[in-house]
Symmetry: C2
């Protein structure tokens, strides 16, 4: 059975987002040096869909508190990656989530260091995980590092202005966006001692990550800048290979739909199936 | 009894540096994406005194292999911090260890991401610690983060061009340089299950860190650029508060000597005392 109702998923996302916000605020209070902590809080708090946190919570469905350190650590890693991505030496983006990006609101050095500090804090936080703390922390380090997210960012930058194949594009996205999404699910499952469901969650994560990236590319073409809170059309300006550029919009939408179907198929019978399923469908229809 | 012979300490440093080099090369082989791994290896391998690694090894004296993951992780964190410090948005340094700094040898984006990847890899590596892995990893996260090394970097940048007090200078250095030095000793001790000596090592580390920073400041004035492999006189150019500027050279040397004496006093009777003692004296007379 598949669930196409996205409302429960949206409710769940909102619930987790609120919980995570409280925890993140607690993990990173305004301490000395004030400029650093202010910048960290600026980029970490009060924004984002918290999809990674929700995914970690979902694979600990019913025992979400076990996954909260992992969920918060994932949001810290995500926030750090956005700060560094936006820097002038990287994508040089002035806006993020509808407000000036970190280096515009503060300065380049503060933004760089706030990113460094958030990444470091993520490891401090994830170590608090009650079950399997070593495994959960190791998963995060592997997914966020040179063979995962950071590696994907390098490949993405290297592909700018070049024509790349579909296979190359898939590798870039599986690392750049997919790694953190898949590991979110794995970390939650390990934190809730659900090792026997890791394989299912991993397939779901890979397909969801793919769908997420395709719709991200689509939204960069068709989206509403105000809703999305970021500069649109940057992919084209920067000569980035995207799904719409490789396949056109219609085929891209079809590919996203297929990925969502595969994701939903993989998690049949797991706890929280209804919400995971609705979340995958929500990715397809999201406007931001 | 104090040991003023620095030869054994230098031999020990060389021995650990060779061991660590082999391990680091193994931990970060040349993988895909090649540009990223090449940059990581460029900044991590083949250079540096490996003092942090040696300190971790020294508090596991006789069982050094227990401290090797910690030692390697510390060198990765140190290397990442230097890459990011050298970036144009930060200190804008073109040379490091006698060769072009990472963003000059590669480009800004690659350097930034190589730093991120090294920091992330450090956590992957330190988790391999056999004894007390959670504690050892937590110590690293705390010392390297916003309340430690990164915080010290922020305070240091904020102090440029300002007249600051001796107390403020001590706080900056205790965070920026001291935190990683002290934690190196603590991590090695925890990895070798020598919790009962943590307090002694911590005092030694704090004083050694202080001496190290003072001599670093002195070398920026009196040092040999070729030996040191970096641009000298930058502290003055950037209006940084340093010990020589606050106290003059002679008084600075006196302060470094006092710190070394306190360090040596603290570790009376611990295993490897002779080398720790010699190492502290070596800091005082080093020319690079």
């Amino acid at each position: 059975m598949t669930y196409t109702d996205t409302n429960k998923a949206k409710e769940y996302l909102n619930k987790i987002a609120k919980l995570v916000e409280v925890e993140l605020d607690r993990y990173i209070p305004l301490e000395e040096p004030e400029s650093l902590f202010t910048a960290m809080r600026y980029s970490l708090l009060g924004g984002g869909k918290r999809i990674r946190a929700a995914l970690a919570a979902l694979t600990a469905y019913g025992e979400e508190e076990l996954a909260m350190p992992a969920a918060c650590a994932l949001e810290m890693v995500h926030a750090y990656s956005l700060i560094h991505d936006d820097l002038p030496g990287m994508d040089n983006d002035d806006f993020r989530r509808g407000k000036p990006s970190c280096h515009k609101a503060f300065d380049e050095a503060t933004a760089l260091l706030a990113g460094d500090a958030l990444l470091t804090k993520a490891f401090e936080v994830v170590l608090e995980t009650k079950n399997n703390p070593l495994l959960v922390t190791l998963e995060l380090a592997k997914a966020a590092g040179a063979s995962g997210m950071v590696g994907g960012q390098v490949l993405d930058l290297a592909s700018e202005g070049k024509k790349i194949s579909y296979d190359e594009l898939k590798v870039i996205h599986s690392k750049k966006t997919g790694a953190l999404i898949t590991v979110a699910l794995r970390m939650g499952a390990l934190a809730a001692k659900r090792e026997n469901m890791l394989a299912k969650y991993t397939i779901y994560g890979e397909q969801l990550g793919l769908a997420f990236q395709i719709t991200d590319d689509i939204l960069d073409v068709t989206g509403d800048a105000t809703l999305l809170g970021k500069t649109l059309g940057k992919d084209a300006t920067q000569g980035k290979s995207t799904y719409p550029r490789l396949f056109g919009l219609e085929k891209s939408q079809q590919l996203a739909k297929e990925a969502v179907e595969k994701a939903i198929l993989a998690i049949e019978g797991v706890p929280g199936e209804e919400i995971l399923s609705g979340l995958a469908n929500y990715i397809l229809v999201r406007e931001k």
